[in-house]
């Protein structure tokens, strides 16, 4: 009997996964079309950009190049060619880096993922704790202080915070490194090397986490207060449970659901923030790659990063949905 329901549950999850994956695929295809439109709305085509780089070239040669890249074809043929390439993970070639765009992105992705995961964990945990702290002392001085802190974090540009953190912690106090991902030229064992990367990670991860820490703090506070007003909490109080037990065992588990939704939504804005933070800290990830692509006017690469970034968001949303269904059995994964 139990086996049967479990099997049905698994079936349900598989069906859910298949349907959501198909939706995700369609979304990505639509984003690829949008990318194509952006590139073709831009003044001049890829060959014009190249010609500008070389300081001009004769028209005949440019026409030949256009033909060899299929740029003389009708627009819908070009679109299908582009989509066909994207499906095969062929995102074009970065002439500046002399490497296929996809390979280039893949070499930079791990650094960005490390930074993103670190700052997600940081903002989630800090926001959760501050939110619970605030909600348990609602309308006191401590609660107000946390609110002010959250408002300041909302208003601070993260790249500015990063710069100021470098001034304080790297230049003045000489506590933490403020540039790169590891000490160049050092020959460390795996433990020391991990520690080295972790030390380099502290400032960029904090800068990137700042804004969302504020978001989570306010969300968690509001969510806790909402749950505090429910009947079963009154019951718990009537039973004579301690305030601490009520907060952590009864309120928190139910108040945490909106936070999980936020996790998925956060990924997109983290990627945008990574462009700024990686530029400030010289972190060798996707964001830094995007900044270099701007300077080098490498539009192929920029568009590739945008597409892969969107794919990351789609995947994150899928994971969030699953996590949500697992945390809250009331939600139908249908």
């Amino acid at each position: 009997m139990q086996g049967a329901t479990q099997g049905a549950g698994r079936n349900r999850i598989v069906r859910f996964l298949v349907r959501r994956s198909a939706q995700a695929g369609l979304t990505l295809l639509a984003i690829a079309v949008l990318n194509f439109v952006i590139v073709h709305l831009a003044p001049g085509d890829a060959i014009d950009v190249l010609a500008g780089e070389f300081g001009g070239a004769d028209a005949q040669y440019l026409d030949k190049l256009r033909r060899s890249y299929g740029l003389d074809q009708p627009i819908y043929v070009q679109l299908f060619q582009y989509l066909f390439n994207v499906v095969q993970l062929n995102l074009g070639f970065s002439f500046r880096n002399n490497m296929p765009v996809f390979d280039l992105i893949m070499t930079r992705l791990p650094a960005t993922l490390l930074l993103m995961v670190a700052s997600m964990l940081l903002s989630f945990t800090a926001g959760l704790l501050l939110g619970v702290f605030s909600a348990r002392r609602v309308n006191t001085f401590a609660d107000d202080a946390v609110s002010v802190l959250a408002l300041l974090c909302y208003a601070t540009p993260l790249f500015w915070f990063g710069l100021m953190a470098i001034v304080l912690f790297t230049v003045k106090l000489n506590l933490l490194p403020g540039n790169g991902m590891y000490t160049i030229g050092s020959n460390l064992g795996w433990f020391a090397a991990t520690l080295d990367v972790a030390r380099h990670l502290v400032l960029p991860a904090c800068s990137l986490a700042l804004f969302h820490m504020a978001v989570y703090t306010r969300l968690m506070r509001a969510s806790m207060l909402e749950v505090y007003g429910l009947d079963y909490i009154r019951t718990a109080r009537a039973k004579g449970l301690s305030q601490r037990r009520i907060a952590f065992r009864h309120v928190l588990p139910n108040a945490i659901l909106p936070m999980v939704t936020m996790l998925g939504l956060q990924v997109g804005s983290l990627l945008g923030g990574a462009v700024l933070v990686e530029t400030v800290f010289g972190w060798p990830g996707l964001g830094r790659l995007a900044f270099d692509a701007i300077l080098q006017r490498d539009h192929n690469l920029l568009i590739g990063i945008l597409l892969l970034g969107s794919a990351l968001v789609v995947i994150a949303n899928l994971i969030t949905d699953l996590l949500y269904a697992w945390l809250d059995p009331r939600i139908e994964v249908a």
Binding site: T27, A30, I31, L34, I38, V39, L41, A42, P43, L151, L152, Y154, A155, T156, P157, F159, W160, L163, M164, I166, V167, V171, A222, L225, V267, G268, S269, L271, G272, G273, V275, L276, T279, V280, A290, F291, A293, I294, L295, R297, H299, L302, I303, I305, L306, G309, S310, V313, V314, N317
Partner: protein, 280 residues
Amino acid sequence: MSAWRDFWLRYRRKTSAMIGLVLLLFVMLVAIIGPWLVSADPWDIVVRPFLWPGEDPEFPLGSDVLGRDILSGIVHGSRVSLLIGLAATATALGVGVTVGAVAGYFRGWPDDILMRITELFQTIPTFLLAVVLVAIFKPSMLSIILVISAVSWPAVARLVRAEFLSLREREFVQSCVVIGMSETRIIFQQILPNCLAPIIVMSSILVASAILTESGLSFLGLGDPNLMSWGTMIGIGREAMRTAWYMSALPGIAIIITVLALNLVGEGLNDALNPRLKNR
């Protein structure tokens, strides 16, 4: 006019909302009359470089790496920031309200199509999209305004759609349908005025986030090359950050004050316009 009086009485009850309002009025005053009080062109080299704040009373906030007046840059930058913030928000509101109203009022297939497009825009990482668009279409005041509105309209559309979905079922709308009022009039004269409150609250948040986005873009070198904006100044100061951190610090503080003021005003408006929720 007693509705306005009521609103004002509720708004001013909250200290933080009043602080926000005062700060915002101050920033607006600086943006409007400030440029006449400081050096005419923030790009002019007027004094020796690396002058620290307070060193020379004629240039109270010091000078940058080339000897440009930082106070002048911040004052001119306030105009740029507010102008871009307001223009981008107005454009985003125009698009978002139209899309949201059509989707929420007509439902059915227009709703499906418009919401799919909205979701698409919300999937693409916002700031990354802004960076790519500005880089491809060349940075200028106009392109920056259009790009920021292009990434911020989906939030407006979703909000307005939700309001329309609930309002169109109300009796006053039904009676408008019965007396044969045109759909345009129902949408713009009957339903829209009733969802102004959340739209107004959202606007102040949108201006704040537009200012943050603009500062990020110009920090990356994607600002209008002819305009001195706060993000541009932080980018310039970054070159000399180790020795003269004030060059980046000061414009950053200007951003924080402005964005904080807008957020506080937004919160105050929210509390004053939704009196039912004020005890939350």
